[in-house]
């Protein structure tokens, strides 16, 4: 009955409960917004100065310029640029938070953190040009943190992580086109400058400015993933579970929601110390931490914490009546949570000074006192558990197994079991021989406009059938986990013969005695550069640039500005990038054309906008074949 | 052409307007047995507590056709249909070319001891309301027989005057024609909040007097209720005397064809006096609804003036009202029981309630309490006997609007989107 809202069975069950309880959810609020304003939908509304707001009539009967004279092309390009800047800022904030944490750790100010992966610390530091000889991990960490923090400000040279992690060809192209940012925050600031009234009015120049900012976004994300791995460990394959059925009746259920492991990892780390208190409060199964959204991915891939649900369905976790605390940091956290929680005992706990919410309990989480903060949060959850109303508890009996934590290092690790000397060879061989058509990275959010997970699930089945190797991050991986697609069984059921053979060989090599899961979980949404690292390795090995590889990306249910910036850098890196919603650019045919066509000539990558998931999969398959052809490989034919 | 209309309420005035529209030069004589000028009958409860004046409830000039020969206080008693002559109570008479019988209906007074005595009122006319107002000035306790619309309206009016009001209803819920159990339960609260006492499953045994003054009412169960004012609101009966005198065919009401013509081709009928058919079920009904009377009057008037208009029947239930600040709309077959192709959808949230009655692929009944926005589109679907199978999801939702209705019929949508 809720098929227009979600295809995830646990969500559907909870939607029924929510309806019965008359709780207003994101889908209801969306329905109340429909029809949405066409000027906003097409990008033809500008509010960048106080002479506005201005609108341009897409039909040509009304005004064709804003008060300042800006045209539809300028409106749309400026608007898109600001979205990219906002997305970049979000990742920048996330990355900076990690850099500060590393610095505090290195200077002894954050005693509850430690360097979890010394190898990665040293590898990253070395790659970024830090001398390692004779230095302790702590010293290296301190220097790396300084180097990381420098990335954000205005530098005299291009941003370092980008320069050290991409192909030479790509970097050369960026340099020629003037796309190399000289600092992450400076790139954001530049976009804000050039998009304000009376600066850049040239739509193509504006788009190049947006791309430059998106490359800064790539830089911040690559940095964030590196530092997360150093601080919290490089993810390794781990068997966990997903869906709202991972909440437990007899446990204190704590959901960590948001994005940064700086908080969630500590909650996970200190929960065992509080088990007794939880049991004393009557929770016979102690403390049960579950993840929501990308913070969920972070603790899933490193600690096997169950993935309860994703961003669009976050409110449903509260509706179960069994969630004692929802602990959030930042990004994709709906301000409605406290309103939904009014009807339940759930404590909504905000933790970040920049991300508070009326009606929530705020516990300011500081890295200097992480243990204290984590304990206080867990204590609040236990107190809330005591107030839980058993009559309101409704946990859907739906759980799926999910194998998570397939980082680039993990992929190489598995591959090296087939060929220790040349780990990439088995993968490349199978692409060359056509067992694998190509690689698709699924990323991005759920979007209330699309029945939750519909596009993800439809597309993956279409692509897997065509022997496409699937990687997933962020809410994409949440979707696949909740539908049982991150399992060997899903491979058996859905993979084409070539893909199945490869995943089976790899699975056996990894000692699974079963194929690898149909979807390789490569992390949270901030971790999209993990997939790039694999692609760059393949490209370097083949001696071609990224824009020649049969590698594509898809955000079929994108919704956040972060997805806009990620999509843009994916295009800049040379990836054909599918999005399953129409971005607010169609008011400018010129901008639309640059993004979907001209970009291909300039960068190799380009946007593919396709709302129909079956057609989208077909298009991506065609693109991979085109790339195969370009590499002189046989085109894949699928019945 | 000389048109004579008997009855100057909803049907009569609508007919006059329709005649005037089609035939600007026609002679129109309109007779009323009331001495008050034409007025809006549903507003008379406001006279009881002086919320409105006679002026406020009178039909304004802007809604009255020009050049009407309006004669008040005239009782037409005998119809000589052979000679096209109408005779009055006081020995006068009038000839006609076309006659409209819009004599309406009169309240029923059940055969209960004392119910025909002084101090017992019905509420049908302006004069009735004035009578109640006069007695109500000194009344402390009022008992009302019947919890229908009239009973409820009277009760609220008397409460405005601070009178203790009890309503005695034979059935198991208030406003039983218009509400089902659930919605009646919602309104029971509203009514109780207004300080009105409801006694269900009872009727009067006697109305008791001391001399000419009412002292109390005794119920069937023996309970005695203090009273110095009694109102009976238990329904109406068509005023068929005039029609019968002219040899016109009647059953429960005056029988008419689709053009609202009686068995005498020169005589038409409209309003509460007519027996028509239920638009949903097709069963014969005598409608007591203002809105239906206006529509009948308009069609009868048009036909009298030479037009060809058809009347497709009335909703036996088509009512909107607000009681104690809570609105309700009831249309069509709201009392149907599930089974035999009937499906019922209900939804209750606090004081909001929605009931949709489906029969096969049709919507046949509707109750909306609280949120009644856009009820008219549901009403049209019922009236048109539209196939609503494609609209089911939207109908059950809270945002059903004209756009959904529009897109459900390709022709309608094409017309609307001609530009595309």
């Amino acid at each position: 009955m809720f098929e227009d809202r979600s295809t995830s069975p646990d969500s559907i069950e909870m939607l029924g409960v929510a309806k019965k309880l008359d709780v207003e959810l994101v889908w209801d609020r969306y329905a109340a917004q429909v029809p949405q304003c066409g000027f906003g939908e097409t990008g033809l509304c500008c509010r960048h100065c106080l002479q506005g707001p201005c609108r341009i009539d897409p039909f040509g009967n009304g005004p064709q310029t804003g008060v300042c004279g800006a045209t539809a092309d300028t409106f749309v390009a400026r608007g898109l640029d600001r979205s990219i800047a906002a997305g970049t800022a979000a990742h920048s904030g996330h990355a900076k938070h990690l850099a500060h944490t590393l610095k505090k750790l290195a200077t002894g100010k954050a005693p509850d953190y430690s360097i979890k992966d010394s190898n990665k610390l040293r590898a990253v530091a070395q790659r970024q040009g830090i001398q390692l000889v004779g230095k302790s991990d702590q010293q290296v960490a301190s220097e790396l943190a300084d180097l990381a923090l420098e990335e954000f400000s205005e530098r005299s040279t291009p941003v370092g992580w980008t320069m050290k992690t991409l192909t030479t060809g790509r970097l050369k192209k960026f340099e020629e086109m003037g796309l190399l940012p000289f600092g992450i925050d400076s790139a954001i600031s530049e976009v804000m400058h050039r998009t304000t009234n009376g600066v850049d009015a040239d739509p193509v120049n504006l788009l190049l400015g947006g791309i430059k900012c998106a490359i800064a976004d790539y830089d911040g994300m690559a940095l964030a993933t590196d530092l997360s791995d150093i601080l919290f460990g490089v993810p390794q394959p781990t068997v966990a579970s997903a869906n709202l059925g991972t909440l437990k009746v007899n446990a204190v259920n704590i959901a960590v929601h948001g994005h940064n492991p700086v908080l969630s990892d500590m909650v996970v780390a200190f929960a065992p110390q509080m088990e007794d208190e939880a049991r004393k409060a009557g929770a016979s199964e102690g403390i049960n931490i579950v993840g929501i959204c990308c913070t969920g991915n972070e603790v899933l891939m490193r600690h096997g914490i169950p993935m309860a649900t994703s961003s669009v369905s976050q409110e449903l976790a509260i509706i179960t009546g069994a969630l004692d605390a929802m602990v959030v940091d930042y990004q994709c956290v709906m301000p409605s949570l406290t309103k939904v929680a009014e009807g339940f005992h759930t404590q909504v706990i905000t933790t970040m000074g920049i991300a508070k919410m009326p009606g929530a309990t705020h516990i300011n989480f500081e890295e200097e006192h992480a243990a204290e903060g984590a304990r206080e949060i867990i204590h609040l959850a236990i107190e809330a558990f005591k107030k839980r109303d058993a009559a309101k508890v409704h946990i859907p009996d739906i759980r799926n197994t999910a194998i998570a934590g397939v980082s680039a290092e993990a992929v190489i690790g598995i591959l090296s079991k087939l060929d220790a000397a040349d780990p990439l060879k088995p993968l490349i061989d199978n692409i060359v021989n056509g067992n694998i058509t190509g690689v698709c990275l699924f990323a991005g959010c759920n979007n209330v406009k699309i029945p939750q997970d519909r596009n993800f699930v439809t597309m993956i089945k279409e692509l897997a059938r065509r022997d496409v190797l699937i990687l997933a991050t962020g809410c994409a991986s949440g979707a696949f986990a909740r539908h049982g697609l991150m399992t060997p069984a899903a491979t058996e059921k859905n993979a084409g013969p070539g893909l199945k053979a490869v995943l089976t060989a790899l699975g056996n090599a990894a000692g699974l005695n079963a194929p690898l899961p149909l979807v390789l979980h490569t992390g949270s949404c901030v971790d999209n550069t993990r997939a790039v690292a694999i692609a760059v390795a393949i490209a370097n090995k083949l001696g071609v640039d990224l824009d020649k590889l049969p590698v594509v990306a898809s955000a079929p249910e994108a919704s956040m500005e972060k997805a806009v910036s990620i999509g843009t850098w994916a295009v800049a890196l040379g990836l054909p990038t599918h999005i399953g919603v129409v971005p607010p650019v169609t008011g400018s045919p010129l901008v639309t054309q640059v993004l979907t066509q001209t970009a291909k000539d300039l960068l190799g990558g380009y946007f593919i906008v396709e709302l129909d998931p079956v057609k989208a999969a077909e298009k991506l398959f065609e693109v991979m074949n085109e790339r195969r052809k370009g590499l002189g490989l046989a085109e894949k034919v699928v019945a | 052409m000389k048109h004579v209309i008997v009855g100057a309420s909803a049907a009569g005035m609508a007919a006059a307007e329709a005649i005037r529209k089609r035939d600007p030069g026609a002679e129109i004589v309109i007779l009323s047995n009331e001495t008050h000028p034409p007025y809006y009958r549903p507003l008379i409860p406001y006279l009881i507590y002086n919320e409105k004046t006679g002026e406020d409830i009178s039909r304004q000039a802007r809604l009255t056709p020009s050049n009407l020969d309006l004669r008040l206080g005239v009782h037409a008693t005998i119809l000589d249909s052979k000679n096209h002559i109408l005779a009055f109570e006081l020995a006068d008479s009038l000839s006609y070319d076309r006659l409209l019988i819009a004599t309406g209906a009169s309240p029923i007074r059940p055969n209960i001891s004392g119910l025909d005595g002084p101090g017992v009122f019905t509420l049908r006319t302006w004069a009735d309301a004035e009578g109640i107002a006069k007695v109500a000035k000194d009344a402390k306790h009022a008992v009302i027989l019947g919890a229908g619309r009239i009973g409820m309206k009277s009760a609220f009016a008397l409460r405005h005057l601070g009178i203790e009001v009890s309503i005695v209803e034979l059935l198991d819920r208030i406003v039983p024609q218009q509400l089902d159990e659930e919605s009646a339960a919602i309104f029971a609260h509203t009514v109780a909040d207004a300080g009105i006492k409801i006694i269900l499953g009872q009727t009067f045994k006697t109305v008791n007097y001391e001399g000419k003054k009412i002292t109390s009412v005794t119920l069937n169960n023996g309970v005695e209720l203090k009273a110095d004012l009694v109102i009976a609101g238990v329904g109406v009966r068509a005023n068929l005397e005039l029609a019968t005198s002219g040899g016109l065919r009647t059953q429960k009401g005056l029988l008419v064809n689709e053009r609202l013509q009686t068995n005498d081709a020169h005589i038409f009928a409209a309003g509460d006096v007519v027996e028509t058919k239920d638009i949903v079920s097709g069963d014969p009904i005598v409608s007591g609804i203002w809105t239906n009377a206006v529509e009948m009057g308009r069609i009868a008037g048009d036909n009298m003036a030479g037009g060809i208009s058809n009347y497709n029947g009335a909703f036996s239930l088509l009512n909107a009202m607000e009681l104690g600040g809570l609105p309700v709309v009831s249309v069509g077959e709201v009392q149907a029981l599930p089974g035999d192709g009937v499906e019922i959808y209900t939804e209750r949230k606090g004081q909001t309630y929605r009931k949709l009655v489906f029969y096969g692929n049709r919507l046949i009944g509707l109750i909306l309490v609280g949120q009644i926005e856009r009820a008219g589109i549901y009403q049209i679907l019922i009236r048109e006997k539209a196939d609503v199978s494609a609209l089911r999801h939207e109908l059950l939702g809270h945002r059903f609007h004209y756009g959904h209705y529009l897109l459900s019929g390709p022709r309608k949508a094409d017309q609307y989107f001609m530009a595309g």
């Binding site: 304003c37 | 088509l318 909107a320 709309v329 009644i372 926005e373 008219g376 589109i377 529009l406 897109l407």
Partner: protein, 162 residues
């Protein structure tokens, strides 16, 4: 006799018409002050969506207006000059019979006053606020007779009465 004509395919659902309608029917008649007024100014024109299409829904000022026929208090009437269907607030008793019979669902309820509200074609203006404010000219205010047949064919919701 002028009427509002709608060209739905030009509608972007920006809802400027709804907002300007409410402002026009407020006391202050300006966007900054009107929203805080009591009673709340209400719009009488609506933009809805169905099937992904944007659908402006306006009062047609019907020839045989069901709201006028059904009104039990004489509040609904046809203006003799503009021929528009109007609601006389002073007469309205809030029985909502008009809401029950309007097939377009364009009669609103002003709850604070207990009165029905509907499009009055902005009698104090040369052309209605919604039409004047429509940024894509999806709305036009034209004389029904003058409005050429061809042009009308391209406009939807041709208003009854022409």
């Amino acid at each position: 006799m002028k009427r509002i004509f709608v060209q739905p395919d030009l509608c972007t659902a920006c809802k400027t018409c709804e907002m300007q309608c409410a402002i026009e029917h407020s006391q202050a008649k300006n966007i900054f002050a009107s929203p805080s007024e009591k009673p709340h100014p209400m719009n009488r024109v609506y933009v809805e969506a169905a099937d992904g299409r944007k659908i402006p829904i306006f009062c047609r000022h019907c020839d045989d207006a069901p709201c006028v026929a059904a009104c039990i208090s004489g509040a609904m009437f046809r203006d003799p000059i503009t021929d528009a269907v109007m609601c006389d607030s002073s007469r309205c008793i809030g029985c909502w019979t008009c809401v029950m019979v309007c097939p377009y669902g364009v009669i609103g309820r002003q709850l604070e006053l207990g009165k029905a509200v509907k499009c009055d074609l902005c009698p104090e203006r040369e052309s209605p606020a919604c039409v004047d404010s429509c940024p894509t000219k999806a709305l036009v205010f034209e004389d029904v007779e003058k409005f050429s047949k061809e042009k009308r064919a391209s406009f939807a919701a041709a208003i009854a009465g022409g």
